[in-house]
Subunit: 117 residues, 2 copies
């Protein structure tokens, strides 16, 4: 069976965002691009460990990077966050649509009640 590519994208984006180190990187990149070394400094962690986080963010499409000499410069790719927003908005529409139908039902019951009384 084929899995929708959207599902995989949401999987990897949500998984990437579930780690505080990676969310901190995103917050930092929101203020402008930065080298891997610079990004790594606040995090008490060996560089190879930190690189795995950067790779996870890139694979999820949240971050992109280019090579500038021996320096890898990372930039935020905010469109990936928009994918999450879209999913949440869809859920809210489901939830709110349900509430609308519930209140319509309540009104109908109320007016039925009037008819009966």
């Amino acid at each position: 069976m084929l899995v929708s590519p959207m599902a995989n994208q949401l999987d990897s984006i949500f998984a990437a965002l579930s780690d505080p180190t990676r969310r901190a990187v995103i917050a930092r990149l929101g203020q402008g691009e930065a080298a891997v070394k610079t990004l790594a400094e606040p995090h008490d962690m060996a560089l190879p460990s930190f690189l795995k986080h950067i790779d996870t963010l890139e694979r999820a499409g949240l971050v992109r990077s280019r090579k500038d000499g021996r320096v890898r410069v990372c930039t935020l790719h905010p469109e990936a966050l928009a994918v999450v927003e879209t999913w949440i908005d869809q859920q809210k529409r489901l939830w709110e649509g349900r509430l609308d139908r519930l209140s319509a039902l309540a009104e109908q019951i109320a007016s039925d009640g009037k008819d009966i009384q």
Copy 2:
């Protein structure tokens, strides 16, 4: 070092949302509460496996449940999704604030250029 409780909440919420089965449960619960058995049916999976997903959703605060006889009825707790929205909004503010400062800088450079020429 103490970790902010907020970070842990975001950790578990994002982790819970990174699985397609669990996102499907959330979408289903958006249309109204349901028993575990009902929720499990569309997912080709043994019940104990499915129960772990429900537990993950509950621990993240996305779902709540009550016991009705031998039936466990689950409801969506959408406030937890709002926590995610808030985080994304904060990131957007960072990103957009940066863009504002960039364009202000660009304007300043442009007018400096005029003065020089």
